[in-house]
C-alpha cells in the first residue's frame, strides 16, 4: 500500500486537541486522579544521598514498625534486579553499592501519606564511601566510560585543518536540563488473580514498563498489562525512567496484595531521575576568508550519569547532527559517553541533536567574530544545497528546503534592517563611558540559526508500530495504537488520519488509552515519530477496513434492497455477499467515503456509513483490523558511522533578538521569527503549538535553567523555586511562527513531517544571539575579546555567565574575595 499524499477532505483544519474539553474543565484523568480503592497503599522511595558508596547496612526495622506501614521492599524482593533501555545495567533497587545520589535503596508502602513519611524518615543506612567521578574531565582521565568510542568520518579532517587559512578551536560546555513535565512520575498497580498485575503508568513506553514490571515480579510479560491514558508531559523524561517507578508500585502491590500508588513529589522526581545529558565538546574548525567551513574535527563527551540508560543513542544523534544545516567537506566526529556518579541521564526532546547543533552554530558565531562578518552570511555560504547535499554520514538530504528557509525568513523577519538598527544601538551604548543610565544599559544581539532534524529512531528495529481499529455497529470507531498521548496531540492526529480515510466526522472516532493488552511490542513514543509510525499503522488498518466496506457497498449498489443482509440475514433467506468477489483496488476506485456516507461513483447509490457497517456485520465481514507499519529504506551502520540514518529531515530556521542588561546579565528575548517546513500538516494548530512550546522549552535550557548539585551529586535546584523554567513573562514579546509550503514529502504518511523535537533546536538562536551581543562588546574592549576567545559561552547562558562574558574584569576583581 502506498500512503496517501492528497486528501479529498480538508482535515488539516486546526481542530482542538481531542482532550481539550476535559483539559479545560479539569475532568481529564491522569494517574493520580484515579479514585483510590479501599486499602490502596501510598508508595514512596528511600534514596541514597551519596555519590558512590558501598551500602554497609540498610536498616528498615524501625520503619516497618511504623503504624500503617504495609510493606517495605528492598533489592532482595526484586526477582530480576536489572533493567535498562539499551543495556540492562541498572538495578531497579540498588543492592550492595549505590552509584548516585538519588538512587533508590528501599521502597515503602503505607496506608497514609503521614505513615509513609514517618517510615521513610525511620530508615537508616550506613555507607562506606567509594571513589567518585564528578566531572567529565576526571572521567576522561580515569577512562570512566560507558560503551565504546564511536566515530563518523568523511574526507581528511586532519589535512584539511592543517591547510585551512583560518582555524578556531575551543571547548563548549553544555549543561543538562530537567524535563519539568508538570505531572510528576507516577503509577498505580492493581494486583490481579494468578499473579497478574495491571499497571497504570505515566510512561512514554508502555511496553518497556510492562517488561520491567514483569522482570521485577518474576512473571511472564503476558501477566502484566500496562495502561496509559495520558501524560501530563513527558519530553523524553518518561521514555525509560518511568519504568522502574511503575515497578516500585507493582512490587509493593504484589508483596502486600493491595493496590499501590506511587506519585513522586517534584523534589524527589528531580533528584531521582536523570536529565538531558551534559556535554563537553572539543572542536577545531578550519575555514577560508569568506567563512566557508573547510573542515571540522569534533570530540564529543557526554556525562551519562551512573548507568547507560539511553546515553549511547543520544551520543549517536549528537554526532549525526554535528553538521546541522551545513555542508562540511572534511569531518571527523568522535563521541564517547562518560560514566559519572549522577542520576542516569536520559532522553530529552531533541535527544543528542541539540548538543551537536549547538557546537556548530556556536562555532559559526565565533567565525563571524573573527572574520568581522555577519554570521548569517557564513551560514548561507555553508548551507546544504544542490551539489552539496550529502551528509558526513553519507545520506543525501532529499527534499531540501534549507536555502529557501534561510532566504524567506531573512526577508520576512526583516533581518538586514534590524541588523543595522542593532549595530547603531549597540555602538552608541558601548561607546558610552559607563552603562548606568537607561539608554545605554542594554545591548542587543540578533541571530538566525537553522535545524535539519533527522526523523527516525537511529536504531532501525524501533521504527515499527501497530494499531488496532474496531468499527462498532453504530458506525463509531475505536482506534488503539502504541502511541502515548502526552499533550503533543498524537491521538488527535491519528484520529484525523482514520477519520479522513473512512470519510467520518471526528465525533465518530475515539482514540483509546494506550495499553499493552491491545498493542504489544511497541516502541516508545519518542524521536518525534509518534504520528509517523502509529498513524501509518492506524491508516493501514483503516484502509483494510475500507477495502472490505467499499467492496460491500459496491455490491449492495447492484443488489435489490430486499436481498440485503439486513433483510435476509436473520432468516437466512439469501446467500452472503462475497466481499472478495471484487478486487479491492477496483472497489476503492469506484467508491467515495465522505461525510459519514459511502457513495458509488457513477450511480446515485449512497449509504450511511453506519448502515453499511450493520450490513457488513450481518454479512459476517470483519469490522476489526490490525495494522502494522515499518519505516522502509533505513540502514545506518553504527560501527562504520555511515548510511541512511533517517527517513527524512524536518527543517526550519529562526531569528531571535535578545536584549542584555549590562548591569545584571539578565536576558530578555525581544522577538522571535520561525519558519518551519512541516510538510503537509495533519493539524496545523497542533503543529504550531509544538513549535512555540518546543522553542520556549529550549529557551529555558539555553538561558535560565541551571542545575546545581552538591559535591555528592545530589541535585540542589530540585524545585521551581530554584530551577527556573520560562514563565509567561519570558515568552518572546513578538513571536511569529510560519510554516513553509511543502507538499513533496511523499515518503511519509500523508506528506506530513514530524514536529515534536525539531523546533527545540531553533532555540539555540537565543543563545547565539547572546553571543552576538557579546561580540559587539568584544569589538570595543580587548579584555572582553580575550576572555571570549578563551571561553565559549556555556549553555545555559545564565545571567551570571552572561555578565561574566560581558564584564570579565569585574568578576576577576571580586573572584579573589574569600567567602
Amino acid at each position: 500500500m502506498t500512503t496517501p499524499t492528497k486528501s479529498h477532505q480538508d482535515t488539516s483544519a486546526s481542530l482542538p486537541h481531542d482532550s481539550s474539553l476535559t483539559h479545560v474543565t479539569g475532568q481529564s484523568e491522569y494517574v493520580d486522579d484515579r479514585t483510590m480503592l479501599p486499602g490502596e497503599l501510598f508508595v514512596g522511595c528511600f534514596y541514597s544521598k551519596v555519590a558512590h558508596a558501598e551500602i554497609k547496612k540498610l536498616d528498615v526495622s524501625k520503619a516497618s514498625q511504623v503504624a500503617g506501614v504495609a510493606c517495605i521492599v528492598t533489592a532482595k524482593d526484586v526477582h530480576h534486579n536489572a533493567w535498562g533501555p539499551i543495556f540492562q545495567d541498572q538495578p531497579i533497587i540498588a543492592d550492595k553499592v549505590t552509584w548516585f545520589a538519588g538512587e533508590v535503596l528501599a521502597v515503602v508502602g503505607a496506608s497514609s501519606p503521614e505513615s509513609l513519611r514517618e517510615a521513610l524518615n525511620a530508615i537508616s543506612v550506613e555507607y562506606k564511601p567509594l571513589p567518585s567521578v564528578m566531572n567529565i574531565t576526571d572521567a576522561i582521565a580515569k577512562k570512566s566510560f560507558i560503551g565504546s568510542e564511536r566515530f563518523i568520518r568523511r574526507g581528511n579532517a586532519d589535512q584539511a585543518l592543517t591547510s585551512a587559512p583560518n582555524r578556531l578551536s575551543g571547548k563548549l560546555v553544555i549543561q543538562g536540563a530537567d524535563h519539568f513535565y508538570l505531572e510528576n512520575q507516577g503509577a498505580v498497580a492493581y494486583p490481579k488473580e494468578q499473579g497478574q498485575m495491571e499497571v497504570h503508568s505515566s510512561t512514554q513506553h508502555p511496553t518497556e514498563t510492562q517488561h520491567t514490571v514483569a522482570h521485577a515480579l518474576g512473571v511472564n510479560f503476558s501477566d502484566v498489562v500496562c495502561v496509559v491514558k495520558r501524560l501530563g508531559g513527558g519530553f523524553g523524561g518518561k521514555e525509560s525512567q518511568a519504568s522502574p517507578i511503575a515497578a516500585y508500585a507493582a512490587l509493593v502491590a504484589a508483596k502486600a496484595r493491595r493496590p499501590a500508588r506511587i506519585v513522586l513529589t517534584k523534589d524527589d522526581d528531580m533528584i531521582m531521575t536523570g536529565k538531558r545529558n551534559p556535554f563537553e565538546i572539543h572542536y577545531e574548525v578550519g575555514f577560508d576568508g569568506k567563512g566557508k567551513i573547510l573542515a571540522l574535527r569534533s570530540r564529543l563527551y557526554s556525562d551519562g550519569g551512573a548507568y547507560a540508560d539511553l546515553s549511547t543513542a543520544i551520543m549517536e544523534r549528537a554526532m549525526l547532527h554535528s553538521d546541522n544545516a551545513y555542508y562540511i567537506p572534511h569531518v571527523e566526529v568522535i563521541g564517547q559517553v562518560c560514566k559519572l556518579n549522577y542520576h542516569p541521564h536520559t532522553a530529552f526532546r531533541g535527544f543528542g541533536g541539540p548538543k551537536g547543533v549547538a557546537a556548530i552554530e556556536g562555532v559559526i558565531e565565533d567565525i563571524a567574530r573573527e572574520l568581522k562578518m555577519d554570521a548569517l552570511d557564513i551560514r548561507k555560504a555553508n548551507v546544504y544545497r544542490a551539489g552539496w547535499d550529502v551528509t558526513h554520514y553519507g545520506q543525501t538530504v532529499e527534499n531540501n528546503m534549507l536555502p529557501l528557509l534561510f532566504d524567506e525568513l531573512e526577508v520576512s523577519a526583516d533581518y538586514r534592517h534590524r541588523r543595522q538598527e542593532i549595530t547603531a544601538h549597540n555602538e552608541k551604548a558601548l561607546k558610552a563611558t559607563n552603562c548606568f543610565s537607561e539608554d545605554v544599559q542594554y545591548i542587543r544581539g540578533l541571530s538566525m540559526t537553522a535545524v535539519k532534524f533527522g526523523i527516525s529512531f537511529t536504531t532501525r528495529f524501533l521504527n515499527q508500530g501497530n494499531a488496532l481499529v474496531n468499527i462498532h455497529r453504530d458506525g463509531s470507531v475505536q482506534v488503539s495504537t502504541g502511541a502515548v498521548e502526552m499533550g503533543q496531540g498524537v491521538n488527535t492526529r491519528i484520529g484525523m488520519l482514520v477519520a479522513e480515510e473512512l470519510g467520518l466526522s471526528m465525533d465518530k472516532i475515539r482514540v483509546m488509552s494506550t495499553s499493552t493488552e491491545k498493542n504489544a511490542n511497541t516502541s516508545p513514543t519518542a524521536a518525534s515519530t509518534g504520528t509517523d509510525i502509529n498513524g501509518a499503522a492506524a491508516w493501514i488498518a483503516a484502509r483494510r477496513l475500507k477495502e472490505r466496506l467499499a467492496s460491500l457497498a459496491l455490491q449492495l449498489s447492484h443488489t435489490w434492497n430486499d436481498a440485503w443482509p439486513s433483510k435476509t440475514a436473520g432468516l437466512g433467506t439469501a446467500p452472503e455477499i462475497d466481499i472478495k468477489k471484487i478486487p479491492y483496488d477496483e472497489a476503492l476506485a469506484k467508491t467515495t467515503f465522505e461525510n459519514n456516507e459511502v457513495r458509488v461513483t457513477g450511480s446515485n447509490f449512497k449509504i450511511a456509513f453506519a448502515d453499511l457497517v450493520v450490513e457488513a456485520y450481518l454479512n459476517r465481514t470483519s469490522l476489526g483490523e490490525y495494522g502494522f507499519h515499518k519505516t522502509e529504506n533505513l540502514g545506518f551502520d553504527k560501527l562504520k558511522g555511515q548510511g541512511q540514518a533517517f527517513h527524512y529531515f524536518t527543517q526550519g530556521t529562526a531569528v531571535s533578538e535578545v536584549e542584555i542588561n549590562r548591569l545584571t546579565g539578565e536576558i530578555k528575548v525581544r522577538r522571535v521569527d520561525i519558519l518551519m517546513d512541516l510538510g503537509r500538516p495533519i493539524n496545523e494548530g497542533l503543529d504550531l503549538g509544538q513549535v512555540t512550546g518546543a522553542f520556549v522549552q529550549g529557551m529555558g535550557w539555553v538561558t535560565t535553567e541551571n542545575l546545581v548539585y552538591n559535591k555528592e551529586g545530589l541535585l540542589l535546584s530540585h524545585s521551581p523555586s530554584t530551577y527556573k523554567i520560562p514563565s509567561v513573562q519570558d515568552t518572546p514579546r513578538i513571536f511569529n511562527v510560519k510554516l513553509a509550503h511543502n507538499n513533496d514529502n511523499v515518503v511519509n504518511i500523508r506528506g506530513t513531517k514530524a514536529v515534536g523535537e525539531p523546533p527545540l533546536l531553533l532555540s539555540l538562536s537565543v543563545w547565539t544571539a547572546v553571543k552576538d551581543a557579546i561580540r559587539y562588546a568584544s569589538e570595543i574592549d580587548k579584555s572582553i575579546m580575550d576572555f571570549n576567545r578563551q571561553h565559549s559561552l556555556t549553555i545555559p547562558a545564565t545571567a551570571e555567565r552572561t555578565l561574566r562574558h560581558l564584564s570579565p574584569a569585574l568578576f576577576a576583581r571580586f573572584e579573589s574575595v574569600k567567602e
Binding site: 479545560v24 545605554v440 518546543a694 513573562q729 513571536f735 551570571e800 568578576f811
Partner: protein
C-alpha cells in the same frame, strides 16, 4: 472553652455549596483536601510550594467588619491549610461551567490550543477566570501579569495569551454574581460568628480567635505557638516533610488586623493585610515600593501573603525587607502579660538578630508594621536581580536612599541590601562614611571598596559570591550615577 464560645470546625463555600470541615481534614493542605476528600481532582499538585500555579483556585474573602463585597482572587491551594479558608468563598475549575456551557477562559483555551498536556490548564483557566472577574477583556500584557504564577511546559505560553485575548467576560459566567449571592454571604457570616479552635488526632491545635487579646492569651498559654499568616513558607515546609507544628495561631478572624491605615506621617500595615492590598495602598504614597511589588511573587501569593509574614519569616532574601530597613520601619508587637495585652514598638534595625532570629520575646508576635512616610522613605530606590526576571527569588536586592543638603553634601543615607548576609542589612558604616561629603567619582570608588568589605555573600543555587559582589557593585554604582546625575552616556 465550651461549645458556646468557640467553633470546632471551619466553614466556607465551595463552588456554591456550604462546606464545614473539622478534625484532621481541617489540617490538610487545601489542594490535598480538594483532591482526596472533596474529589475535585481538577485542581492539580505539581510543586507543592506555590511556584507553579497548577493548584490555582479562586477565593473571595473580606473580614467580617467590612461592608465591601468580596472579589474572587487567585490563590495557590497547595500551601494553605483548609483551616485558613474559614469564612471564604472558593471556586475550583469544576465550578466554572454553567449548565454545561464553558466559561469564557475555558472556551478560548480550547479553541486557541492553549492546552496541550492539560496538567497546568485548570490553573491557567482559574487565573484567567479570576482576571475576567475584574476586567471585561484582557490584553496580552494584562493576561501575562495575571498568569505570572502559572507555569506551562508545553505551549510556550503564546497560545495561552491568544486565548486570554479571545476570552471576554460573560454575565452568565460571572462568578461573583453566581456564588456571592446575598444569601450565601449572609449565611456564611452567620456560620462564622464564633472563634475557631480546631484539633486533630495528633493533638494539634489551630486557633483563630476574633480578638487580639485572645490571640495573645493563646500565645501565652502555648509557648511553642507558631503564627500562621498565609503559610507560603510553612505550607512548603509541611509539604516537604516537616510535620505541622503543634500549636497554630492565625489572626485571620481579627478584622482590624486587615487594615492599612495612612496618616500624614506613616502607613501602618496590619498583620493580615495582603501584599495585593498593600500594592494598591502604596500606589500614590510610595510608588517605587508599589511598583516593586509587581515583580515580587505571583498574584496567587500576593493575594494572600502579607508584609508581616515576609518580615516574620526573616529570610536573608526576603524581598520587602531591604525596603523596610531603609525606611526605618517600626515593628508593632503584642504579648499577654500580667493579665493584659502589652504592646511594644521595635525599630526595624534592631529587629533581626541573626539568621532567622528575631528580637521577639516568648509569646510575642507582630501585629503591624509602621512605615514612616518621610522623605527618606519616599526617595528609596529599589533593586532586585535574579536569574529569571519575574517570580524568582533574588540573588541580590537593594533599597537605597540618599538625601543631599542644599550645599550638595550628603545629608542622610539609608542603604539596605538583601542576599549578601544571613539577614538583610543596612550598611551603617557606608552610610556614616558618606554623610557630610559631596559625591564625586573618587568618593564613589572609595564607597564601593568599603561596601565590598562590608558584605559577605555566599555561593548558592542562585549564584556565586563573586556574582553577588558584582551585582552589588553595579547596582550601587547605577544608583549613585543616576541619583547624582553623574552622566556617562556621553
Amino acid at each position: 472553652m465550651s461549645d458556646k464560645t468557640s467553633r470546632h470546625h471551619v466553614a466556607f463555600y465551595l463552588n456554591g455549596e456550604l462546606t464545614r470541615v473539622q478534625g484532621d481534614d481541617a489540617f490538610m493542605m487545601l489542594a490535598e483536601w480538594l483532591r482526596k476528600r472533596a474529589l475535585r481532582t481538577g485542581t492539580k499538585i505539581v510543586c507543592a510550594e506555590g511556584d507553579c500555579g497548577a493548584c490555582t483556585i479562586l477565593r473571595a474573602f473580606e473580614p467580617t467588619n467590612s461592608s465591601k463585597k468580596p472579589t474572587f482572587m487567585s490563590m495557590n491551594s497547595c500551601i494553605a491549610t483548609v483551616a485558613q479558608m474559614d469564612g471564604s468563598h472558593l471556586v475550583t475549575v469544576e465550578g466554572l461551567e454553567v449548565n454545561g456551557e464553558l466559561a469564557p477562559a475555558q472556551a478560548a483555551m480550547r479553541v486557541c490550543h492553549g492546552s496541550q498536556c492539560g496538567y497546568c490548564t485548570p490553573g491557567f483557566v482559574m487565573a484567567l477566570s479570576g482576571a475576567l472577574e475584574v476586567k471585561t477583556h484582557l490584553d496580552r500584557k494584562t493576561a501575562a501579569n495575571y498568569t505570572t504564577g502559572n507555569l506551562c511546559r508545553c505551549t510556550g505560553y503564546s497560545p495561552i495569551l491568544d486565548a486570554a485575548e479571545k476570552a471576554k467576560a460573560s454575565e452568565t459566567h460571572n462568578l461573583s454574581k453566581r456564588y456571592l449571592t446575598n444569601q450565601n454571604l449572609q449565611q456564611l457570616k452567620k456560620e462564622i460568628k464564633l472563634p475557631v479552635l480546631l484539633s486533630d488526632t495528633q493533638g494539634r491545635l489551630f486557633s483563630a480567635p476574633m480578638r487580639l487579646q485572645d490571640a495573645c492569651k493563646f500565645c501565652a498559654k502555648h509557648k511553642d505557638t507558631r503564627m500562621v499568616a498565609a503559610t507560603t513558607d510553612l505550607g512548603v515546609q509541611t509539604n516537604k516533610g516537616r510535620p505541622l507544628p503543634k500549636h497554630l495561631l492565625s489572626l485571620q478572624n481579627i478584622p482590624e488586623l486587615y487594615e492599612i491605615s495612612t496618616s500624614k506621617t506613616s502607613l501602618v500595615v496590619g498583620a493580615r493585610a495582603s501584599l495585593s492590598r498593600l500594592r494598591k495602598a502604596t500606589e500614590k504614597r510610595i510608588p517605587e515600593f508599589s511598583k516593586f511589588l509587581d515583580l515580587f511573587a505571583s498574584p496567587q501569593i500576593k493575594n494572600v501573603a502579607t508584609l508581616v509574614g515576609n518580615l516574620a519569616n526573616a529570610s536573608p532574601i526576603g524581598d520587602t525587607i531591604p525596603f523596610l530597613l531603609a525606611s526605618d520601619a517600626v515593628v508593632h508587637a503584642a504579648k499577654f502579660s500580667a493579665g493584659k495585652v502589652i504592646k511594644r514598638k521595635i525599630p526595624i534595625t534592631e529587629f533581626f538578630l541573626g539568621y532567622k532570629k528575631l528580637s521577639l520575646k516568648a509569646g510575642e508576635f507582630i501585629t503591624a508594621v509602621e512605615i514612616p512616610l518621610t522623605s527618606q522613605t519616599t526617595s528609596i530606590k529599589l533593586f532586585k536581580t535574579s536569574q529569571r526576571k519575574d517570580l524568582d527569588i533574588s540573588a541580590v536586592s537593594a533599597a537605597l536612599s540618599i538625601e543631599t543638603s542644599k550645599s550638595g553634601d550628603i545629608k542622610n543615607a539609608a542603604l539596605a541590601f538583601g542576599g549578601i548576609a544571613a539577614t538583610p542589612v543596612r550598611i551603617h558604616k557606608l552610610e556614616t562614611f558618606l554623610v557630610g561629603k559631596p559625591m564625586t567619582q573618587k568618593l564613589l570608588d572609595r564607597a564601593l571598596d568599603l561596601l565590598n568589605d562590608e558584605i559577605h555573600p555566599i555561593s548558592d543555587v542562585r549564584g556565586t559570591g563573586a556574582f553577588r559582589r558584582v551585582l552589588v557593585h553595579q547596582l550601587f554604582s547605577k544608583y549613585i550615577h543616576e541619583h547624582f546625575a553623574m552622566g556617562g552616556s556621553a
